[in-house]
């Protein structure tokens, strides 16, 4: 990998971090990643990240869940083993539909929620028992860490980051602490 050397700038306040992100972006540097102990409102927009498409998948998964529930209830209750419940011996899906609405609703939610979580895990490349990629454990407590790739510009980048209020600046060889 080309970008093996990265710079880690550490901040102790989210407001300072936000203004630092804006300064760094204005200088046209590419921010690789930011680690924060809590979600910082508006950080994704300031970093210039593309908006999430998770909501679209949620809708599609919900549609799949609705379809599965419809097909399933039609097969179970109408085709395979029609049952007379509460004096409604109907062999029509449409006429019995109200009874299936709770199931259709629940499966829509179930599919949407579970598949969305799985998608989120896959996109974020995390899974159970995975070793944390977090470069500095302090970012789980009260520190914020900005990671920028270095391309023979250590000096100017360090000075810039110092000016933005970073309390600590480290240059790290990414291969060494690789996964």
């Amino acid at each position: 990998m080309e970008a093996s050397k990265v710079i880690h700038a550490i901040y102790t306040d989210d407001d300072i971090l936000m203004s630092a992100v804006k300064t760094v972006k204005a200088e046209r540097y590419h921010i690789e990643e930011i680690y924060t102990p809590f979600p910082v409102h508006g950080l994704d927009k300031a970093m210039g990240l593309a908006p999430t498409r998770l909501a679209i998948t949620a809708f599609l998964y919900g549609a799949v869940g609705l379809a599965v529930a419809t097909v399933m209830m039609n097969y179970i209750m109408i085709q395979d083993w029609p049952q007379d419940i509460g004096g409604k011996p109907s062999f029509s899906f449409l006429e019995n539909m109200p009874a299936f609405v709770p199931i259709m609703f629940e499966l829509t939610v179930f599919f949407s929620a579970h598949l969305m979580v799985i998608t989120f895990y896959m996109r974020s490349k995390i899974w159970p028992f995975k070793k944390a990629e977090n470069p500095d454990p302090r970012t789980t407590d009260d520190h914020f860490l900005m990671e920028i790739a270095v391309h023979n510009n250590e000096e100017s980048l360090t000075n810039l980051l110092k000016d933005t209020g970073a309390v600590e600046i480290n240059i790290v060889n990414k291969d060494e602490d690789a996964h």
């Binding site: 909501a55 509460g86 004096g87 409604k88 109200p98 009874a99 709770p102």
Partner: protein
């Protein structure tokens, strides 16, 4: 920002009201042009009209029954004829009642619809205060404008109920009650005087809250920066009002709506009506806000405020559907005759408005407002809002009409005239009230937060 109702708007509202009065007047004249003397003729014309569209099988049926009559004994035929005649008489009376009920019911539906919008907004406004919401204070003056219709609108609903009497509320007819054991058992509650007293108590409580919250809101504008006593008073009376409201709104919905079918009852009816008025009210807040903003009068309202209102429109539409379906499914599944008759009538005689309303109130808002970005596009919100309002008009229509006019419903001149009249009145009162004070409640301690609200 100051606002004064423009002459164009006032004239427009008054023209709507005049057109409405003409429509309502025509409705009454048309309905009463049929009376005891010519009802038989009216029904014969109607049958003749029906015959033109008669299907083959319908004709065959007639032939069969005619043949059957010929075969029968003379005595039997005579008996059957007499019976048919007797039945015809009651049928005629029945139809006559339905025809005469229609203009009253049309007026009542429209009056209640516009009244419930302002009552829903009043509840929303009180929730904002009680929750000390930081996002909404920029919209408070719009809400206060809409709630100015609570008192006049409510008085009109009660007046219509008073004068329409048994045209809408069958239990107000002593002859009916005398032959009806079920209503007799409920007569302790379903009594016209007690009904009116209850209505006045509800209206008194609601408009008292509206009066004082508006007074404190205006007083807070003029108060010293460090003096939040008016805001605190508003917080307290809003919390108290919400308790009063949730009881009285529920009782009001039994009284003013559910009692038109005095044999039928549903335990979640109060919630169901509440959901309808809440979503209609929030929709009207959004529509009037977008209107005033398009005139440049609400520069402090940003698209995050519109976004939040649209989220409420979306969410409460689904909440309404949840309640509608909860009420429907349990009754449909249990299939107990005295309960299920309510929905049988609606599915058989009101199929289009009954299911059409679910599409308008659920599918449209669900699909149109699901996307986050669309919630902040004004014309999208307006379009969905118009659909939601029409859907909830139909909702009230479906609550009142089956009990009053049976299968003789139509959205014609009486209905449209009533909507025009009350719509015009609503606009006139609301926009006049909006012009009384600045559109920014600048004294509200949360105003800074609200102006900078950003989603």
């Amino acid at each position: 920002m100051e606002y004064k109702i423009s002459n164009r708007l006032r004239t427009g509202a008054i023209i709507l009201m005049i057109l409405g009065v003409l429509g309502v007047g025509y409705g009454f004249m048309d309905a009463y042009s049929v009376n005891e003397d010519n009802i038989t003729e009216f029904l014969a014309n109607e049958d003749h009209h029906g015959d033109e569209h008669a299907t083959e099988s319908h004709g065959e049926e007639h032939n069969v029954s005619a043949a059957h009559a010929e075969e029968g004994h003379a005595d039997d035929a005579h008996g059957a004829e007499a019976e048919a005649e007797g039945h015809e008489m009651t049928h005629e009376e029945h139809v006559l009642h339905q025809l005469h009920n229609r203009p009253y019911a049309a007026l009542y539906v429209a009056a209640f619809f516009f009244f419930m919008i302002s009552l829903g907004v009043l509840a929303f406004y009180a929730i904002q205060y009680a929750a000390q919401a930081g996002w909404s204070p920029v919209l408070f003056r719009v809400m206060e404008g809409i709630t100015s219709y609570v008192l006049p609108g409510g008085v009109l609903v009660l007046l219509i109920a008073f004068f329409a009497d048994s045209h809408i509320f069958i239990w107000m007819d002593e002859n009916v009650v005398a032959h009806d054991a079920i209503i007799q058992n409920k007569s302790g509650w379903l009594d016209k005087t007690w009904f009116m007293i209850r209505g006045l108590i509800f209206l008194g409580g609601w408009s008292a809250y509206r009066h004082f919250s508006r007074k404190f809101s205006v007083a807070q504008d003029l108060a010293d920066v460090n003096d939040n006593s008016n805001f605190k008073k508003n917080f307290r009376i809003s919390a108290a009002f919400l308790v009063f409201y949730i009881y009285t709104e529920s009782i009001m919905s039994w009284d003013w709506i559910m009692s038109v079918d005095p044999h039928w009852f549903s335990t979640l009816f109060g919630w169901y009506v509440f959901a309808s008025m809440f979503v209609s009210g929030i929709t009207v807040i959004a529509l009037i806000t977008i209107f005033l903003k398009s005139k440049g009068l609400l520069p402090f309202v940003n698209d995050s405020h519109i976004h939040d209102l649209a989220k409420f429109m979306f969410g409460i539409s689904i909440f309404w559907t949840y309640l509608w379906f909860s009420q429907f499914m349990l009754i449909w599944y249990a299939n107990i005759p005295e309960e299920v008759t309510y929905f049988v009538t609606r599915i058989e005689d009101y199929n289009l408005p009954f299911f059409g309303m679910v599409a308008l109130n659920f599918l449209f808002p669900l699909l149109l407002l699901m996307n986050s970005d669309y919630k902040r596009i004004p014309w999208f919100v307006v379009m969905t809002g118009v659909v939601i309002l029409f859907g909830h008009y139909l909702d009230i229509f479906n609550m009142i009409m089956p009990a009053t006019v049976g299968d003789r419903w139509f959205i014609g001149i009486p209905e449209i005239g009533s909507v025009l009249f009350f719509g015009g009145l609503f606009m006139l009162i609301v926009f006049t009230s909006l012009g009384k004070y600045p559109l920014l409640a600048k004294g509200n301690p949360f105003m800074k937060e609200s102006e900078h609200f950003h989603y």
